[in-house]
């Protein structure tokens, strides 16, 4: 079910709802640069969706907050003007800004799980806006709340009104946030990464909802994201930001398909395609990992209350040959990380077999496990918490090998050439983790894993936390290492594009079960299970081919 494309960029309303002229916003002193945003100008017309896109540190969120007047004191607006329907609100009084918020301009945020006040009912949180800005009676307000709830396609409004945020799912909560934002029918909606924290399927529904509401109410939308798939899906016009500068702006197809600025071009090429890169299979490569009927259930014995057992993964079976990469794809809660942790024996599986080169490590006691540790290594998702802040990179690298008898000098030598392998300067060995960026830290983690010369490398969402350009660097690095060391790899991800680019074989998991398993090409081109098909359909910007270098 592909997305019918609503309207193209050419139709422009008469006066723009939002105009931003030469906006410059300062940074607190001592930062690595003087201002967060320099001389940015753009406008948003009625019924138009403008996407602000850029990597972390590009200033896109700062711009959004400056429009709403929510900037903290440490980020002052140094120069430039912001006009809302012609009215200059750059330095408007707090009272005036409060009048405009939710009535004329609204904002929705990234984290649905924490965007709502946990101790107030959803009904009250919507009602609060009406009470503040209108003089409607309680019953009128209640009716309005019920109508907006049904408008955001939430079932059984009365139950929703009385329920607390923690009783709703992520998607439902985001609908409540949208209801709050649009209940007073503002002319401008600012959406700051509204779907980034949601699963692919939920993300698709929310995007469709936003498009629908925007069409019916003719609201102008300033849409902030770093996901180019989403940009391709919703944007009329696109503005690309790099470290606070507006490098390119224009209609969606011009910017995405025919990028003019070098940075945009680099970004377009960094976005992994949905097409599989096939690699010749080396015949006769030995099976490194054989998993048969793996189960993992969390038992919680409550003394008086009912027992609550959570089945994290059941009956998972697959195998990986030397030099091949198996990707496990699935939404959050599907059990993919549980499988990875069972294999690395960070948690103990409750059933099934895990054969590492024929040696079953599923039921090994902790002492016998020691030898096994050397042969399988893992790289985690969050680079900022994978390295011990109090120890230097060198100490982190040599800790593993020295546990297995290697002398300090040989371990240091191995560390030095591994740091080269991951293309990091030799001087980084005696520095502390807090002196490196996210991408650099992830490379160090990879080097640390390789120092053990493992047979199997497990990457658990290893690139999900990185910016697009950094992600590309790390993926190329991994591909290069895989070739050189003929390494078997297990790659866990929720991003289909990354899976397509990296994996030879793909397994799809949903609610703890493996619903599909086959070669990448076969799964991507002819998915058998309808859940896989739904997954592919929900992937944003699915049919869009981003700017191939001119």
């Amino acid at each position: 079910m592909s997305m019918a494309f609503a309207n193209d960029g050419s139709e422009r309303a008469d006066t723009p709802i939002l105009e931003v002229h030469e906006l410059t916003i300062g940074l607190p002193s001592g930062g690595d640069r003087s201002s967060a945003v320099q001389k940015v100008s753009f406008s948003v017309g009625r019924g138009e969706i403008v996407c602000l896109v850029g990597e972390s540190g590009s200033g896109k969120s700062v711009i959004a907050q400056s429009v709403m007047g929510l900037l903290p004191k440490s980020l002052p607006v140094k120069s430039g003007r912001i006009l809302l329907q012609g009215e200059d609100i750059t330095h408007a009084s707090q009272a005036r800004l409060r009048e405009l918020r939710a009535t004329r301009m609204s904002m929705i945020f990234q984290e649905p799980m924490t965007a709502l006040n946990p101790v107030m009912t959803c009904g009250d949180q919507i009602d609060e806006v009406l009470a503040e800005h209108t003089s409607l009676s309680a019953s009128e307000r209640r009716a309005k709340v019920r109508s907006i709830i049904s408008e955001v396609l939430l079932p059984d409004p009365d139950r929703i009104i009385a329920s607390y945020p923690h009783q709703l799912s992520g998607g439902q909560r985001q609908r409540i946030v949208i209801a709050i934002a649009l209940v007073l029918d503002p002319v401008l909606l600012i959406a700051d990464e509204p779907t980034t924290a949601l699963d692919v399927t939920t993300q698709a529904q929310i995007l469709r909802l936003i498009l629908e509401l925007q069409k019916n109410h003719g609201t102008g939308v300033l849409f902030i994201t770093h996901d180019f798939g989403v940009v391709a899906e919703v944007a009329n016009r696109v503005a690309v930001l790099r470290l606070g500068d507006l490098v390119e702006i224009g209609p969606r197809d011009d910017v995405l398909k025919r990028p003019r600025h070098a940075y945009t071009r680099m970004l377009m090429s960094a976005v992994p395609k949905l097409e599989v890169i096939e690699r010749a299979e080396v015949p006769g490569a030995p099976v490194v990992l054989e998993v048969a009927g793996l189960d993992k259930t969390y038992f919680s014995k409550r003394w008086l209350g009912p027992d609550r057992n959570v089945v994290a993964a059941t009956d998972v079976s697959f195998s990986i040959r030397r030099g091949r990469t198996l990707g496990i794809v699935g939404e959050s809660g599907s059990g993919k990380s549980t499988v990875a942790r069972c294999i690395v024996r960070l948690i103990d599986p409750t059933g099934g077999a895990v054969l590492l080169s024929g040696d079953d490590i599923a039921t090994k006691s902790s002492s016998a496990l020691h030898a096994v540790r050397k042969r399988v290594q893992i790289v985690f998702q969050d680079p900022y918490r994978s390295l011990n802040p109090r120890r230097t990179v060198a100490e982190a690298m040599i800790e593993g090998p020295m546990n297995f008898g290697l002398g300090r000098t040989e371990a240091l030598a191995r560390a030095r050439n591994l740091i080269e392998l991951v293309r990091m300067p030799a001087s980084s060995l005696d520095r502390y983790p807090h002196q490196f960026s996210g991408g650099q830290r992830q490379r160090i983690c990879i080097a640390r894993a390789l120092a053990m010369e493992p047979e199997l490398l497990v990457a658990d969402e290893a690139v999900s936390a990185l910016d697009v350009s950094v992600q590309a660097q790390v993926l190329t690095l991994l591909a290069d290492i895989r070739e050189r060391l003929n390494l078997a790899m297990l790659f866990i991800t929720h991003d289909l594009r990354v899976a397509a680019q990296v994996c030879d074989d793909v397994a799809v998991m949903s609610k703890g079960r493996m619903v599909e398993y086959g070669t990448a090409t076969q799964v991507f081109t002819a998915p058998r299970h309808e859940y896989t098909r739904a997954l592919f359909d929900a992937a944003p910007g699915r049919g869009f081919d981003f700017g191939v270098a001119a």
Partner: protein, 323 residues
Amino acid sequence: MATSASPVPAAAPGAAAPDFEALSVESATVVVQPSLWQRVRRNGSVRLGGAVLLLLVAIALAAPWLGTVDPSLFDPASRDLLPGKSGEITTLEGETIEHTFRMGSDSFGRDIYSRVLYGTRVSLLVGLFTAVVAITFGTLLGLMAGYLRWLDGILMRVMDGLMSIPAILIAIALVAMWRGSLLTVVIAIAIPEIPRVTRMVRSLVLTIREEPYVEAAISLGTPTWKIMLRHILPNTVAPLIVQGTFICASGILVEAILSFLGVGLPPDIPTWGNVMAEGRSQFNEFPHNIFFPGIFLAVTVLAVNILGDGLRDTLDPKMAKRV
């Protein structure tokens, strides 16, 4: 309206990969950040609290040369002199010397100025040792409770039990029984503080255990005791230092209260608590007995608390939010 899945064209073999490094927002150069130590030194509260404390330590060390006499020397002739008056004191050898009592004299005729300055020594020592004892035992128990799950239940119940007994009552009971000496007073004050440290260390250990770098260490085959020593302990040092300063402050305060109740250090050892306890019965007539040691006590505890706040804000921003 939805058509079936449209086929995905196979991509042409890898086009020339553009040079990411140059354009990436994350420049390859190493980010220079002020080291922890510089950040701590620059913090206002740390500087203020630290300066006052250094001054007090200087006073404590230089007490004999600051125009003081032997604090236990007394001469009933010059008792209850108001600050600034002068009188005579007989030394142990028996000859009497002229002496101006800058802070007045107590009901024995002892020079309060000398007793307050020498008192700085004991009070600071009490504060320091209390913090050290409480932190060491607390950390030990906290690590065990955090890491050895089977021990956790029992240990935490004992800690809850200890925490439910008011600190002062334990201190009074212990000191009254063991006869006040510096060691017993320190232990008596430290014991009620141990549960708080244990609980903090335990919660820290439980959070750090879940950190990826600890899981990485496990997968690297590092034995448990090494993990505790290398990965868990170093990351609890910052919060422990902060907690230590607050325990030091409360230690000094509790010592004063114990002396006030008559169960503190022996009266002839000059501490602020003893000087105040001695002077309490003449508060209305001669407030200087309580006024001067009270000022010193308040300033010291204030300085230690401010230092603690400063350290907490720099060393452990997360904890800054808690208390």
